[in-house]
Amino acid sequence: MRKKTENATTLVRVIALIKPYLWLLILSLLFAVITVMTTLYAPVLTGQAIDHVVAAGKVDFEAITPILLRFLIVVGIMAVSSWVMNLCNNRIAFHVVRDLRTQVYAHVQKLPLSYLDSHPNGDTLSRIVTDIDQLSDGLLMGFSQLFTGVVTIAATLGFMLSIHVGIALLVVVLTPVSLFVAAFIAKRTYSLFRAQSKVRAEMTSLVEELVGNQKVVTAFSYEEKAEERFYDVNHRLQKVGLKAIFFSSLTNPCTRFVNGLVYTGVGIFGGFVALTAGPAVLTVGQLSCFLSYANQYTKPFNEISSVITELQNALASAKRVFDLLDEPEQLPDKEDAVVLHGAEGTVGLSHVAFSYVPEVPLLKDVTLNVEPGQRVAIVGPTGCGKTTLINLLMRFYDVKKGSITVDGTDIRDMTRESLRENYGMVLQETWLKSGTIAENIAYGRPDAAMEEIEEAAKASYAHNFIRRLKDGYQTVIAEDGGNLSQGQKQLLCIARVMLCLPPMLILDEATSSIDTRMEVRIQRAFHKMMKGRTSFIVAHRLSTIREADVILVMKDGDIIEQGTHKELLEKGGFYHNLYYSGAPEEQSAE
C-alpha cells in the first residue's frame, strides 16, 4: 500500500514538471483523439466504396467517387494530426528533460559535500543522465501511447458495435487469447533469460579480469588455462543462450498464429451473417472493414502491456531523480554574512570537534592559532584526520563543536565563496576540466589575459612542458587530463592557484607516482607560493616538514604534538618515532 501512495506522489510530481507545457499537452491529447478517429474511420470508408464495386456492370462510380474523396480528406487530416501530435509529444518530453536535468545539476552544486563524499559519483551520474532519460521515455512517451491505446480500443469497439454487435463481441472475446499466449511465453522465457544473463555476467567478469589484465596473463604464460576457463563459460552460454533465444522468439509467430485464427473466425462468422442476413445487416465492405479491425485490435493491447512495464521502470527512475532533488542543500550563507577580502591570514581553531558519523569522532578537540605567514605542516599516520582538517578549513564541512576563525571572524559568518577565494588549494587528486590548458590555468580567473596565464605557468615551472606540447597553451586535454602525466597535472593545478595567488594556501603533497625530478620542480613551485602566505601543508617530505614554522602531529583525531622540527625531535615522542621509521633504515641504525 505504501508503495502505491509513493508512486502516486511521484506521479504528481512528474505532472508538476509538465505544468509549463500544459497547453501543449492538451493539444497533444486533442490531436491524439483526432488521429485515432480518422485512422479508424478510413477502413469504414474503403469498405463503403468496395460495396459499390459489386460485379461486372454493377459498379457505381457516381457513388464511389465522393466516398473516395472523403476518404482522402480523412487520410490527410490523420496524417497532419498525427504529425502535430508527435511534435507536441517530443516538445514536452525534450523540454521536461532539459528542465529537470538543469534543475538537478544546479541542485547538486548546492548539495553539501558530505552527500557527494558518501554517495558514489557513478550513482549520481546515472540519476542525472540515464534516469532522467528513462523518465521521459517511459512516463511521457508512455503516457501518450497509453492514451492513444485506450482511445483506440474504445473507438474500435464503438465502430464495431455500430456495424454489427455479434461480430464485435466475437472480436472482443477472441482477441485477448493472443495476449494470454504472449504472457504465457513471456513468463516461461523469463527464467531462461535470467539464466542467460547470469552466465553472461559470469563471462563478462571473467573477461574483465583476464583480458583486462592481459599483460599479467602473458607474463605468467597463463594463456592456455585462461582459454580453458573461457571455453567452459562460453559453451555454457551457448547452451542456455540457444534456449533463451529460441523460446523468446516464439512469441511473435504464436501470437500471429492466434491472430490468424481470430481473423479466420471473424471471416467465417461474418461470412455467415452476410450470407444469411444479407447486405442489409452486413455488407461485404463492412466485413472487410471488420477484418482489418480484427487485425489491429490486439495492437493497442500489446502496446499498453509493454508501456506498463516501461511506466513502472520510469516511475522507479523518477523516484531516484526526486530523491536526489530532495536531498537538503547546504545551509545557505547567513544573511548578514561578511565578505572576506584579502585576508591577513590569522587562522584560529578553538576546541574544534568533528565526526562524519557520531560513533566515530574524527577530530576531538583541536585548538590552534596560526599567525599570518606561518607555515603549518600536518603529519601523522593515515586516517589521523589530516584531510578532515582541510575539509573544515575550507568549510566543505561545518564543525560539530567549537569554531574556526579567519582574521578573528567565525568562518560561518562569512560567505563561503569569499572564504574559499582566500584559500589556494592543491590537492593530491589533480582534477582538471576537459578543455584547453589555458582554460584550466585560468579556472579561478576566467578573464585572465594570456600573458598572465603564461606568467603563472612560468612561476609554477609548468611553462616548459606546456610549450613542448603540440598546441602549447591551446592543447585540449582529455577528460581527467588523460593525456598528461600525474606530475604535469599537478603542475597545472599549481599554476591554477598561482594565477589567483590568494593570501592563504592549503597544499597536499603528493606521495607516489610522480618521478623525483618532477617532484623537485613541484617542491620549488610550492616554496615560491608559500612565501609570505599562511599555509597548511599535508606533508610527506622531510624537507617540507623541517622548514615548517609549526608541525602538527596528529593521531586519532587529536593534535598530540606541536612545535618545530627541532623541538619535537628533542622531545623524543611520537614524532621522533615517526621521523625515524620513515627515514631510511641505515640512518636509524646509526
Binding site: 461486372a56 464511389i64 583480458v211 602473458t218 607474463a219 479466420t264 471471416g267 627515514a583
Partner: protein
C-alpha cells in the same frame, strides 16, 4: 560482417534451413488474402456455405503450416547464430591471448573487453536477425507485387508506382536522421562528461567559487541537446504520416482502377479486397525492414570492431625454424651455464608508432645472482628496459641475451618460465590465495607457496586470514590493502623460483620497514637469483650490486651507490630530492 561468415561453416545446414522456412511461412501468409477473396466471391456472393467452410479450413491449415515453418526457422536460426557466436568468441579470446604488449597498448585492454562482450552480443543477434528476417521482408514485398500482377496487371501498375515511393520515403528519412541521431548522441555524451566532471571536481569547483558558471555551462549543453533532439524529432515524426498518405492514396487508386476492372468483368469484388490487403502487407514489410536495417547497421559496426581485433597481428612470435632441434636448444642452454645472466648489446627500442626512441644504445652485463637497481625519472625508460627481458616487446636494434642466448631464440613459454615478473600495478585475480599463487607455478605445493610468502613478507597477514591459503580474494583483490596486494604479487612471482626476478617499482605501497625486510629476505633467501629492481626511491636500491641510472632512455650512470654519488649528476640530484644533504654526504 561477410568476413565473419566463415564462422557459420559448421552451421551450413542451419543457416540455409532457417531462412528457407521463414520464406515458406511468408509464402503462406501471402496466400491468405487470396483465400479470403475466394471466400467472398464464391462463398458469400453465391451463397455457398460449404465454400465458407472450406475457406475457413484452408485458412486454419495455412496458419498451422505457417506456425510450424516459423518455429523450424526460429530454431535453426537460433542454433546457427548462437553457434556462430560461441565459435567466434572462442577464437577471439584465443586471439587476444596471443597478442603481444605492443598490440595490447594499441588497442587498450578495456576496449578488448567490450569487443568480446557487448560487441559480440550485437554481432550474434545481428546474425540471428539476418537468418530469420532479412529475406522475409523483401520476399513479402516481391511476393505481394507478384500476387498483384497475378490478379490483374492493370491494377498492379499502382503497386509498381507506390512501392518505390514508399521505399524512398522510409529510407530517405532513415538516411536523413541517422547523422542527426548521432549528433544528438554526441551532445548527450557531452552532458555525461560535464556531469562526471562536475561530480569529480566538486571540491575544486567550490574552492574556486565556480558553481554558477558550471551550472550555466551545463544548461548550455542541455539546450544544445534539446535543439538537436527537436530537429531530428521533426523529421522522424514525418515518416508514419507520409507513408500512411501514400499507402492510402494507392488504396483509393486500387479501388478506382479495380472498380473499372470489375465493371468490365475482368476481376471480382473479392479480388479488389485482396489487392487492398496486399498493399498493406507491403507497407508493413517495408517498415519492418527499416527497423531491421537500423539494428543491422549496429551489428555491422560491432562486426567491424570485432574484425579490427582479429586484424591485430601479434608482433612477438616464436622462431619457427624447423632447424632448431631440441638438441641444439639444449646446447644453447648448456652454453648458458657459465654465461652472464643478462647482457644488453647495443639495445635501442622504439615503441610502435612512437617517433622517439624509448631506449637508446644500452650496453651492460649482469652476472648471475647480482641485484640490479634501476632508477630514473618518469619516462626515462625503466619499465621499457625490464619489459625487454621477458620479450614483452622486441628490441628495435641490438640484442638482449639471457644466459648467453638471444631472447628471440627462446620459445616464449620457456623464456618466461625463467623470469618472475612483478608488475607495477598489483593485479590479483578472484579466487583463493592459493589459486593466485599457482599462477606462478601450476603444481606448487603449500610448502613452496609458504616459502614464497615468507620472503615476500606476506606470510604474517596471510596466516591471519580466515582459511589462510583458502582465503577468497574478490575481483582485483579488493578485499586486501594495497600493500598486501603488492606483497602477494611478489610472492606469486617467487613461487616459481625464477632465475631472474623483476620488481617493476613494485614496493611503492610498502612502508620503509617492510620494504627493507623484503630486500633483506630477498638477498638472504634467494641465492643465485638475479634481481632487477626498478624504483623511484634511492633507499630501495642503494644496496644493489649495480645501479643503472636512466635518463631519457640513455644510461646516465652505472655503478654502486657510493660511486654514483661521486660521479653521476643525475643520481645526485635524485638523492637530494629525497633525502637531505647530510644523508647523501654520510
Amino acid at each position: 560482417m561477410l568476413r565473419l561468415a566463415r564462422y557459420l561453416k559448421h552451421y551450413k545446414k542451419e543457416s540455409i534451413i532457417g531462412p528457407l522456412f521463414k520464406m515458406l511461412e511468408a509464402f503462406f501468409e501471402l496466400l491468405v488474402p487470396l483465400v479470403v477473396a475466394d471466400m467472398i466471391d464464391n462463398g458469400i456472393a453465391k451463397g455457398d456455405k460449404t465454400y465458407i467452410y472450406r475457406a475457413a479450413f484452408i485458412m486454419v491449415l495455412l496458419g498451422v503450416v505457417g506456425l510450424v515453418c516459423s518455429l523450424i526457422a526460429q530454431f535453426f536460426a537460433a542454433k546457427a547464430s548462437v553457434g556462430f557466436g560461441t565459435e567466434l568468441r572462442d577464437d577471439l579470446f584465443a586471439h587476444m591471448n596471443r597478442l603481444s604488449y605492443a598490440e595490447l597498448d594499441k588497442a587498450g585492454t578495456s576496449t578488448l573487453v567490450t569487443r568480446i562482450t557487448s560487441d559480440m552480443n550485437q554481432v550474434q543477434s545481428g546474425v540471428n536477425m539476418i537468418l530469420r528476417l532479412f529475406l522475409r521482408s523483401p520476399f513479402i514485398v516481391i511476393g505481394a507485387l507478384a500476387a498483384a500482377f497475378l490478379v490483374n496487371a492493370k491494377v498492379a501498375v499502382i503497386f509498381v508506382i507506390a512501392t518505390p515511393i514508399l521505399t524512398l520515403i522510409i529510407y530517405g528519412i532513415m538516411v536523413l536522421t541517422i547523422p542527426m541521431y548521432s549528433k544528438a548522441q554526441k551532445a548527450l555524451d557531452t552532458i555525461s562528461l560535464a556531469t562526471r566532471e562536475g561530480l569529480n571536481g566538486a571540491r575544486v569547483i567550490r574552492a574556486f567559487g565556480r558553481c554558477e558558471d558550471e551550472t550555466e555551462e551545463f544548461t548550455e549543453d542541455c539546450n544544445r541537446l534539446l535543439k538537436l533532439q527537436k530537429r531530428v524529432g521533426k523529421v522522424s515524426a514525418a515518416m508514419n504520416p507520409l507513408t500512411y498518405v501514400v499507402v492510402n492514396l494507392a488504396i483509393a487508386a486500387i479501388i478506382m482502377q479495380g472498380g473499372k476492372q470489375v465493371d468490365a468483368g475482368v476481376i471480382t469484388q473479392g479480388e479488389v479486397i485482396a489487392l487492398v490487403n496486399y498493399m498493406t502487407q507491403i507497407l508493413n514489410a517495408l517498415v519492418a525492414l527499416q527497423v531491421l536495417i537500423v539494428s543491422f547497421t549496429k551489428a555491422m559496426a560491432s562486426a567491424k570492431r570485432v574484425n579490427e581485433v582479429l586484424d591485430l597481428q601479434p608482433t612477438v612470435l616464436d622462431q619457427d625454424e624447423p632447424a632448431e632441434t631440441a638438441d641444439q636448444q639444449r646446447k644453447k642452454t648448456d652454453a648458458g651455464t657459465d654465461a652472464p645472466a643478462v647482457v644488453f648489446e647495443h639495445v635501442s627500442f622504439t615503441y610502435p608508432g612512437a617517433k622517439e626512441e624509448a631506449l637508446t644504445e644500452l650496453n651492460f652485463t649482469v652476472k648471475k645472482g647480482q641485484t640490479v637497481g634501476i632508477i630514473g625519472g618518469t619516462g626515462s625508460g625503466k619499465s621499457s628496459l625490464v619489459n625487454l627481458l621477458p620479450r614483452f616487446y622486441d628490441v628495435t636494434k641490438g640484442a638482449v641475451l639471457i644466459d648467453g642466448v638471444d631472447v628471440r631464440e627462446y620459445p616464449q613459454r620457456k623464456l618466461r618460465e625463467k623470469i618472475g615478473m612483478v608488475p607495477q600495478k598489483a593485479v590479483l585475480f578472484s579466487g583463493t590465495i592459493r589459486e593466485n599463487m599457482k599462477w606462478g607455478k601450476d603444481d606448487a605445493t603449500d610448502e613452496e607457496i609458504d616459502e614464497a610468502l615468507l620472503i615476500a613478507q606476506a606470510k604474517e597477514f596471510v596466516d591471519a586470514k580466515e582459511g589462510r591459503l583458502d582465503y577468497k580474494l574478490n575481483q582485483g583483490g579488493k578485499n586486501l590493502s594495497g600493500g598486501q596486494r603488492q606483497r602477494l604479487t611478489i610472492a606469486r612471482a617467487l613461487v616459481r623460483k625464477p632465475e631472474i626476478l623483476i620488481l617493476d617499482d613494485s614496493a611503492s605501497a610498502l612502508d620503509f620497514a617492510t620494504d627493507a625486510a623484503l630486500r633483506r629476505a630477498l638477498s638472504e633467501r634467494t641465492k643465485g637469483m638475479t634481481v632487477f629492481m626498478v624504483s623511484q626511491r634511492t633507499a630501495t636500491i642503494r644496496n644493489a650490486d649495480v645501479i643503472l641510472v636512466l635518463e631519457d632512455g640513455e644510461v646516465a650512470g652505472i655503478g654502486t651507490h657510493e660511486e654514483l654519488v661521486e660521479t653521476c649528476e643525475v643520481y645526485k640530484e635524485i638523492c637530494q630530492s629525497q633525502v637531505s644533504a647530510e644523508e647523501v654526504g654520510a
